[in-house]
Homo-oligomer: 488 residues x 2
Amino acid sequence: MAKKITDRSEDYSQWYQDVIREAKLADHSPVRGCMVIRPNGYALWENMKEALDGMFKETGHENAYFPLFIPKSFLSKEAQHVEGFAKECAVVTHSRLKSVDDGVEVDPDSRLEEELIVRPTSETIIWDAYRNWIQSYRDLPILINQWANVVRWEMRTRLFLRTMEFLWQEGHTAHATKEEAVEETERMLEVYRTFAEEYMAMPVKTGVKTESERFAGAVETYCIETLLQDNKALQAGTSHFLGQNFAKAFDVKFQSSEGSHEYVWATSWGVSTRLVGGLIMTHSDDQGLVIPPRLAPTQVVIVPIWKSDEQQENVLEYCDTIIEELKELDIRVKLDDRENYNPGWKFAEHEASGIPLRIAVGPRDLENHNVELARRDTLEKNIVDRDGLGERIEKTLKQIQIDLYDSAKKRIDENTHTVDSYEEFKEVIDEKGGFIYAHWDGSSETEEKIKDETKATIRCIPLNEGEEGKCMVTGKPSRQKVLFARSY
Amino acid sequence: MAKKITDRSEDYSQWYQDVIREAKLADHSPVRGCMVIRPNGYALWENMKEALDGMFKETGHENAYFPLFIPKSFLSKEAQHVEGFAKECAVVTHSRLKSVDDGVEVDPDSRLEEELIVRPTSETIIWDAYRNWIQSYRDLPILINQWANVVRWEMRTRLFLRTMEFLWQEGHTAHATKEEAVEETERMLEVYRTFAEEYMAMPVKTGVKTESERFAGAVETYCIETLLQDNKALQAGTSHFLGQNFAKAFDVKFQSSEGSHEYVWATSWGVSTRLVGGLIMTHSDDQGLVIPPRLAPTQVVIVPIWKSDEQQENVLEYCDTIIEELKELDIRVKLDDRENYNPGWKFAEHEASGIPLRIAVGPRDLENHNVELARRDTLEKNIVDRDGLGERIEKTLKQIQIDLYDSAKKRIDENTHTVDSYEEFKEVIDEKGGFIYAHWDGSSETEEKIKDETKATIRCIPLNEGEEGKCMVTGKPSRQKVLFARSY
Ligand SMILES: [Zn+2]
Ligand SMILES: [Zn+2]
């Protein structure tokens, strides 16, 4: 079989596209910058959603749904927000088409009085609603999350990592005190870190963004950042402390238990289908996708092999007992008994689509009371006893989850450097890439200069402050080292 | 406490709005015709989604996601489809705003070459993708469902029942043969019927639509129809056999196992947040929302009652044992121990929001080893023994589900009439409303005449054909009685 996936060492960007195509995760759509998420990709996103949704609910949040459209005037109510989001967005101006000779045309008579913006994020429409919901301290906190599609008119797109329309969740909370809101912001950052590391097996660094990289309208933006196989960083999730900015913009006050009227404190936080891109670039290899077992839609695939009808019957019966055993253990198992495809073809397909474990069963395995067990991550194959297979698989799935995390952690650690001079910084960023810790004087000018000269940005200012020092560029005092990288 | 919900007998439409407001299901939004689905409403929709999604997966379907935007030219590819859907829709014409003195304006330089339509339904964008996915009979069937938001520019909207943006699922399947596609259409109709009756406790009639009421682009539209408390019908779900119309419009052919190239057969089917409106108008009463237990986000609420601190401690401990027992039985239970609200206020709130069972526990209940158990549907209260409470509640929840269905069935049966003459028809429709079976000659002219004169439409042609007869209007031959009603 011809190799369908480009090697990473040859062309990483092409490899990424090949993996997505061969694993049937997504397609480009005829609408520039939008993607079609295929069943394999969507099932992965569904598992991510389910895990995150459970964590949100455990921390007291409820889901709700707000309108897709935002009146144009809403965007300009929060001064910084409009700067960040009004620029590139989808604008609805008309509400009707009319038939003409060769198709349909926009009916000029249907022009809207006020244009509508397809939401790039929902702070404004949500805070407009919160004004009606919040009167007293008894109405607080409001802890709401929304699963939705959003649109940002991106010029350079890449499947999952940056698309014009994407799926995400956005949490929007309202609190009586600053302390509570900051606590919530940090709590959700921790939820994201836990999800990334424990479900996606994707190690992340946490910290806050510099002023220039902050969310438009936020007082502080917390983030999780990971390092992908090509040594570029990916912002995988953000949690914003919004202060009273949106409460002031939408005039949302509450009566405190003492009777005073005060502005409400806010947070928002989100992760998106971009996580799927991060997952792919964290674990996959030249054979295709690798998915951590906790998120794999199918954890074990069974491929029966036979020649005669009699063999077929016996092999399938044997497989049935395995399926039953695995289902008892809540393992997501699938039998691939398609007759139109041969085993070799199936093996390649399951490898490309990243199923963590494959069991192959042929007539000889029946005789010997064995199965062949293959690990997707290591590509290791073993003949193992049918007895105790369920437990063995359960253990192996857990081990794969750990091994994937450990191996990603090792890769990221090896590609995280600390430098003392700007010269060393430029050398490392050019020759190795990766994460770099270095001192910075805290000014936007220096940050900008570094970005212009090296294409590296400050990914975050770590929360656990390190030692003081001197900025590698200006020599001015630096409170702590910050984390740099080139990024997606 | 002042009565916050208008009686149904007084003003049914106002009652509906009051229930939605008091149960905190949804709000009107500042975008005309769009709604904000509040946590209580969304949790109900989530439960519906979960049940339906399970049924879709059991029948072999997978979820996927297609773009929000459809290029304008796609809509005109299927001639009937464009007639039905191109008329009132949201049209994106620009991709950028620019800052001006007092806010933002649409940047005229960002005008799109081809306008984008916010999907009113996704047949066109999906069949464009299917062309790339389908080459051989081995690629069939494709059994895909999408959970999404869609937009139809409605002029007269009503929360849940008809909104400009709504949430729904749309199944889109592709098959090698006509028989398979028809079978799929009927299978999904049956899934919808089962869901409506077994989960929503909402009895429905099934049948096919007349030509004039058919989905734009369908060969046959199957539907489930229910009758609401005000004796108006509601179309609650549709399943369309699309023939080869979309395959021809988007040139989707497959190579059969014999080597010939043939157009693919299609179906599509959908239900939406409109179901929430149907649920409200099927079961609720003058006290507020009534939710069948199988879909209730909270099935049992416990209200502890105390005066002294010591009582509080003891009552809460007693409640804990109940919660533990109910959770063991997978019953969704919530403790309402808010200190800012008194028990009477809580009772009214839980009644308005439709929680099927309420347990009240005070100090005297502890002494007597009792609880007070109140049914939301019948408003019946009983002092019951603490021993065996879990089982009793489990049984009662099942009974409520049955009783709600039976009572809705009885109401619909009582309001379903059969008439022989047009005079009788007009009398019944004016004086009683409800479902009416009557003979019809099968022509669009007669259908139109009846609609003009009585505002009643043919809701469906029942699948189990009845006896032949003569049209009540024209006296021409009729193959069977069909089902009429005024509708939402
Ligand atoms: Zn180093
Ligand atoms: Zn009658």
